[in-house]
Structure formats: structure tokens, C-alpha cells
């Protein structure tokens, strides 16, 4: 397993939105998907996932419905809404700007000043 990293504050929402944007998922599936798409590098505290999901649903960024899981169990599935898709785009752009800026800053050598 790769070395795991702490989740930066505020990034959980972004990761949830991204996971759900790849297809409809139940809560546990979101957890697995995050682990999968981060190559297992980011650990999400399991219980903390749900308040975040409810918050996003309350904001109308994702919506939920009851369905049947792969192993034929009743489960609640989440899906990205149009507002959520828009928000994801903004968040991704914002994140990329930040990452570029940080990376640029960290690459700077004394000679470049």
C-alpha cells in the first residue's frame, strides 16, 4: 500500500463530487472510489463521509435515491446534479490554479529571484 497522506481541509467535498461524477454510487462505494482514484494515497475517515454527503445533498449538489446494491442489498445511491457538476468544474479549476501556484513556488531556486 502506498504511503497515505492527510486530507487537506475542504478537499473531501471535492473528492466526493469527483467520485460521484464518475457514476452513481452508494456511500460505501464513494469511500472505495476515493481510495481507488487516489491510488489509496488518501484515507477518508469512514464516519466523516456521511455528514459531508448530507451537506452536499442539502446544498443541492448531489441527489440521492434508494436502490439495490451489487450484492442485492437496499442502499442509498448518490448522483451528481447539474448544480453539482458546475460546482465540480469550479472546484477543479480552483484546485488546479492553487496546485500550479504552489508547485511554481516550490520550484523556485535562489537564482530566479
Amino acid at each position: 500500500m502506498a504511503e497515505s497522506a492527510e486530507l487537506l481541509p475542504g478537499t473531501l467535498d471535492l473528492l466526493i463530487l469527483k467520485s460521484v461524477s464518475l457514476g452513481r454510487l452508494h456511500g460505501y462505494g464513494v469511500l472505495l472510489r476515493i481510495e481507488q482514484i487516489t491510488g489509496g494515497a488518501l484515507q477518508v475517515q469512514q464516519g466523516a463521509l456521511y455528514p459531508a454527503l448530507y451537506r452536499l445533498e442539502h446544498q443541492g449538489l448531489i441527489e440521492s435515491e434508494w436502490g439495490v446494491s451489487d450484492n442485492n442489498r437496499r442502499a442509498k445511491f448518490y448522483r451528481l446534479t447539474a448544480a453539482g457538476r458546475k460546482r465540480l468544474g469550479e472546484e477543479v479549476a480552483g484546485w488546479n490554479r492553487l496546485a500550479d501556484a504552489i508547485a511554481l513556488a516550490l520550484r523556485t531556486t535562489p537564482r530566479e529571484i
Partner: protein, 897 residues
Amino acid sequence: MNGLLARARSLWRGLLRPGRLAADMEEEMRFHVEMEAERLARERGLPPAEARRQAAVAFGGIENHKEQGRDARGLTWIHGLSLDLRLGLRMLVKYPGLAGVGVLGMAVAIGFGAGLFSFVAAVVDPALPLDEGHRIVAVQNLDAARNDQARETQLHDLAAWREGLRAVEELGAYRTVDRNLLTPDGRAEPLRIAEMSASGFRVARVPPLLGRWLVDEDERPGAPPVVVVGYDVWQRRFAGDPGVVGRTLRLGNDVHTVVGVMPEGFAFPVNNRLWAPLRLDPLVFERGEAPPIDVFGRLAPGATLEQAQAQLEILGRRTAAAHPDTHRHVRPRVLPYARSFIDAPELAWALYLVQLLGSLLLGVIAVNVAILVYARTAARAGEIAVRLALGAGRARVVAQLFAEALVLSLAAAAVGLVGAGVWARQANAYMDRMAGEQVPFWWKIALSGNTVAYVVGLAVLGAVIVGVIPALKATGPRVQSTLRALGGGTGMRMGRTWTFLVVAQVAAAVAILPPTTALAWQELFPAGAAAPDFDAEGIFTAGLGMDRETPPGAEAERYEREFAARLAARQAELAARVEAEPGVAAATYVGGVTGGVIEVEGPRPGAESTRHGVRYLEVDPGVFDAFGAAFLAGRVFRPEDLAGAPTAVVVNRSFAEQVLGGAALGRRFRYVRAEDGALPGGTEAGAWYEVVGVVEDFPVELPYRWEGVGTLYHPAAPGRLDPATLVVRTRGVAPEGFAARLREVTTALDPTLRLGEVRSVSHQQREEARTRRLLTLGILVAVLSVVLLSAAGIHALMSFTVAQRRREIGIRMALGAHPRRLLASVFARALRQLGAGAALGGLLGSAAIAGGEDGAGQAAGLLLAVAALMLTVGMLAALGPARRGLRIQPMEALRED
């Protein structure tokens, strides 16, 4: 916007089905834990029980996550609020005195606000209680040359509008005429009848209960005369006969066939109970000489008021061009029918202002309640400080105190709303009784959904004043020191603030109450001159009119002449026949009371003339005799006074004393302004009148405020009074039987004579006394609630300030002070505070009373009484805590530190 909607939806779901939400979250999280357990068992080969245990540990507390989930949906604070509301209810029960006084005071204010609101709404924004009533419109003419005053509408206008006004359909008209309704049982009753186009029924869209509406065919000249009757006419005059259709009734001399009965409550177009076809033929009248009518219609489907107005303006210009002599300045307009009786935007603003000021009353009372609540909040300072120390946010504590106040003010709002409802019913009934058929049927004061919303708004405002302001003060920076002082039990130390509040409270109560009460009292019971012994027993009055036709053009003048002659003959004959009845002493006539301004010639040649507002009326010369009014000077009217344009005048004692300074005979005056335009006696403008007699005060316009009100009596020639009031003085007749007999005599003489309601003067005096008593009761309740509130406020303030000195008292006791001296010191301080307040209030109050004219004596007495009451209440309030202070064990007092 979308986000907001989603939030509201999710909040709503959480509120509506909290159990379902919790179960959903629980199931979802269990599913998660089980999936994780299965994975652990699969990937790490753990035994199922151990896998489940590890999964549960990794997940954390489900309840905790659920709580966070609720939080994420914004539900927590609502649960907190409902808890606070329950707490608030408990507080009300725990402090019944505070609750009672607070609720009563705020209920009076909120009820007053609600009543005012519904009244203003009824006047400013009336609604027609008919199907799509807002699309029913009136079409009127305005006179551009006379400041856009309303101008008569006539048949020719209606004809033009019917042709060109496409945006309004079912255009029709009505006029009201007074007729004597006679049924086969022989009873007569004057009624205001609507002569209405058949389209009026189609506009109103109310199906008949029996038979049919009027139809266009009924309007054709020569068609059989028919009427539609209203529910109560049907019940009252036909005993609800289901076969009434086809029966006949008489309107004056004319027989009509009943063709339909309208359901209960139907009163279109004004407030009518009987409808006849409008049979005015525009062809027989000259343009400009037809009788006036009122025009209504309904907006065509899809059409707007603006389109209708635009079409109407085109028509108006066309008519103005075609008939410049009559219509050059006429501008037609269309407006919602419900507003066609009062449509004055400036009135609306004035009313809104009154409403705003009325709402301020709540502010004043709420501040008073806030003082009470503050005293209690201060007593709970320890509790609040501990809660803050334990980590409750300030907002959370303020929210709790707000919720407590909200419970109080909502209770007050409920009481106030009920009170306003009772008042509205009374007011509507009163309006019905007093103005009956003249008041449009939709002018009803009703507590609508808007009123309830307004009241809830007032309640929230009250709760903010009562709860939030004390809470903000109680949770301010001071709290830190409160917490430190908690062990010492001294509570809040704010001597100066409390002293100020006590003084201000007492001063306000003493200064405001007596002048207000005195003012209200004077309104209700005007002092005036001592009422002479007027014997109202046995005097009856009733309006008397005679059915009048509106013949076209050339015939009109002749008809008017004949009408006047016939009226004179009938009135004289009726008076004679009534006087011949057993028990009748006299029968005579008076006209309506009008107001005006006169210019009185100076008492001596060369002396300056003066102007006065007066009330005057025309009377039959026999009136003084009929009322038994004694002459103080001069003479009664003589026959020669009636010839031509009479200029002789009799004045009453009050007029002689107030306006003419006693010496009245021979004084001359002329009218500068007369309210209804025409001068009494039909004299020409500027003519001089001369006082020929002075009579003792007696009631003519019955009977409100007649004592001490100056009145001028002008003589009326026979037949001049139309309508007249018949006045009959009797001895020992039973009122009920006499009224019926009077009606029989009148109808037998001429069925077109309309005798109005027969009222006995003494009965009216009793009615009015009852109304005054009710009003007084209302004022008393309001004043009492303010007094109570003030007393409670003073009580709370006093007991609180004295309670603060409890420890000091205990220590001084321990040091050997004598109880009597301690009490004296406590009371001296209380007395100083109360006395200062009373003195200040007394000063302000006296100034207010001195500003007024009369009633100063009573007001001053009242002032002393209120001051004494406040002092007593304050001292009593100080007594309890002082005695508790004396009872405290010295050691206990010392230990408290």
C-alpha cells in the same frame, strides 16, 4: 437560487418526517459498516464477529454521525427552538403574575393593531365577495374642469360605452330609488330598490334561489312589471313561501310580479334586497337631462383594466368632440368596482399612518413588559453566566430568551386576535344598524389571512423587544463579573440604572394616564351646560318620504310642482290624522341637521361682526310645542314668517349664550357657507336673518350631545321638508303597538308615503348610553392594563433592588442594627425613588392637563390617585424582600461571601 430551493426542500423533508430521516441515516450507515465488515473478512480473513467489530470501530459512533448529519441539514437549531418554546411555556406557568400582566398588556396592543389593520384593509383595499370579483369594474365620468371630481353618468354615456368598449362585457347600469314596499298582508316598509340592468345579475354570477334573474326582455317598455326579491324580503314579507314566484307585491301604487328570489347575502349592486328592471329610455330624455345612473361591467376574458381605460379614453374624446356643450371636460375612467365608492389615494396614506402610529402602542407596552422580563432575567443572571461559562454561545442564550418572549407574545397575539374578532363583529353590526342600505355590502371588517400575518409580525416584533433586548443586556460583557460575584450572591450591581428605571416608570404612569383618561372621559361625557329636565318619554320620531318619479324633460317641471303641492297636503293631513289618534298630544315635522358658517352682525352699530360655525335645521313651526320646549325670550314662529323666503330664526339657549352673549333678540346674521349648498328657507345668498326667539335646549338630531350645543331653527313652509322627520309626542302609549299603528295610518293615507323606522327618543337615549358604556368599558380595560403593567413593573423593580440589599441587611443585623432602623433605611430609599418618579410625573401630567381646557379638576384628582397607587404598590413591593432580609441568619449572610 437553485441552491436555496434545494436547501429549503431538504429542510422541509427533515422537518416533516424526522423519524423517517433518522431511520434512513441509520440504515445507510449500517449498510456501510456491514460492507466494510464483509471486506475485512474477505481481504484479511477475519472471523465475521471480529470483522464487524473492527468495521464499527473504524466507522465511529453512528449516533454522533447522525447528529452531524442533522446539523448538515440545518435541523439542529429548529430542535433547539422547539425546546426553547417548551421552556418558555414552562416559564409562563412558573411566573403567572408576569405572564398575566405581560399577556394582557400586549394583547390589548396587538388586538388594537389587528383591529386597525383590518379596518384600514377594508377601506383601502376592499374586495368584492363575488366570483372573480376583482374583474368587475365601474365606469365613471370625471370632470376635468372641476379638479377631476366625479360627474353624473347618464343613459347616453352608457349607450356610447356599450357600443365602443370592447374590453368590458355585460356593461349595465343601476340607480337606487326609495319605494314603499307593500305586501298583500297590508304591511308597509320603505326600501331602497335597485333598478338594475339585467346584465347586473350576469356580472355578479350568483344564480337565483328560486325562479329567475331579471332578463333583458324585462327592460322593454310595456313589458309586464316584475321584480326579483332578496332572501330576507322573501323570509320576512312572504314567510319564506316556496311558491312566491308569481305572487305580487306593491311598490307604492304599482303592482309587480315576483319572478325570482336571490340567495341569502346577495346584495349587489350596493346593499339591496329588491331588484326591478332599469327601464329608462334614452330616447325620451334630452342629452344631459336624464336621471343619473351608475355603470358597471365585467372585464372581457383576457382584457386588462389598462386596455379598457385606453378604449374608454378614445370614446371619451369622440364624445367630447361630438357634444362639446355637455362633454368638453368629461373624462371617463374605469376602475375596480369595489373601489368605486371610495377611491382616494391620499386617504390611504393617512390611514396607513394611523396604522403605523397604532402599532407604536405595542412598542410602548412591549418596552414595559421588557422591563419586567429584564428584572426576571437579571434574577437569572447566575444561570445565564453558568451556561455561557459552560460553552453555550451568546446567540444560543439570546435565542432561548427570545423563544420565551415569543411564547408570551404569541399568547398575547391569540388573545388580541380574538378581541379584534369580537370588535369586528360588533363594528359590522353597528354599521348595519346605523347605515343599513347605504353602506356597500362588501364594506365589512374581516380578520383575513393578512391580518393574521400582520398579528404574527407584531408578535415577533414584541418578542424581539421583550426578549432580545433584555437578553443582550444580560449576556453582555458584564457577565464575567457576574460569574465572579456569583458566590457572593449579589447578582447584578446596577444601582443607578435601576433607580432611573423606577423613577421613569412611576413618572410615565403618573404623567400619561390621568390626562389620557380625562380626555377619553370628556369625549364620552361632554360636560356642557347642565341638561334641562327634558322629558324624552313618549316622543317618537320616524323618517317620512314620498315616492318620486323621474318624468322626462317637459313633464319634469310640472311634475315637481304637483309633487310639492301633494307632499304639503299629505304631510298636513298625516299630522292631523296622527294627532287624532288616542294618546297623541302633538305631531310635527323637522328637517335634517346641517352645518355651516355664519357671520353675526355686531351687537351695536359699528361693532365688528364675528364668524361662527353653527348647526341648523328647518322645522315646522309646531315643533317647539311638540317637544314641550319653553321659550326663554321672544316668540314662536307666526304664519307670516313662512311667507316667501323666511328670514325669522329661533335659536336655542346655548346658542344665545355661547355665540350672542345672552342678548339674542333682534340680532342679525347671514350665512357665509352652508354645508349642503342651499340656504335654509331657500333665501338668496347674503340675505340677513333675524333672531326672533330663544328656546330652551332640546334634542332634535337624536340624541347625541344635544345638551349645550348651539342650534338655529329656521321655519319651514308646508311641503318644503323632503325628506322630513315626523315627530310625535304621546302620553301613555305602548311603543310597539304605536309604531305599527303609525304605519297603518300612513299607508292608509297614501301608499307612496314611506315611513321609516319608528324610534322612541328615550329608547335611543338608552341605546346610546349602552354604546357609551361599552366604549367606556373598552377604555377602562386599556387603561387598567396599562396601570397593571406599570404597577407590575414598579413591583418587579422595587423587589429586585431591595433583594439586592439582602446581604447588606443581614450583615447589619449581625452587627447589631435594630430591625426598625434597617426597615426605615430600606423604605426611605424606596420612597425617595418612588417619590421622585411621582413628582416628575405629576409635573409633566399637570402641564398636560393645564394645556387642556376643561375637566382639569377630575384629571388632577386622577393624577393624585394614580400617584398614590404607584407609591403603594412600590412600597408593598419593597416590603417582602426587606422582611426576607431581616429573617436571614447573620452567620448565613456572612458565609455568603
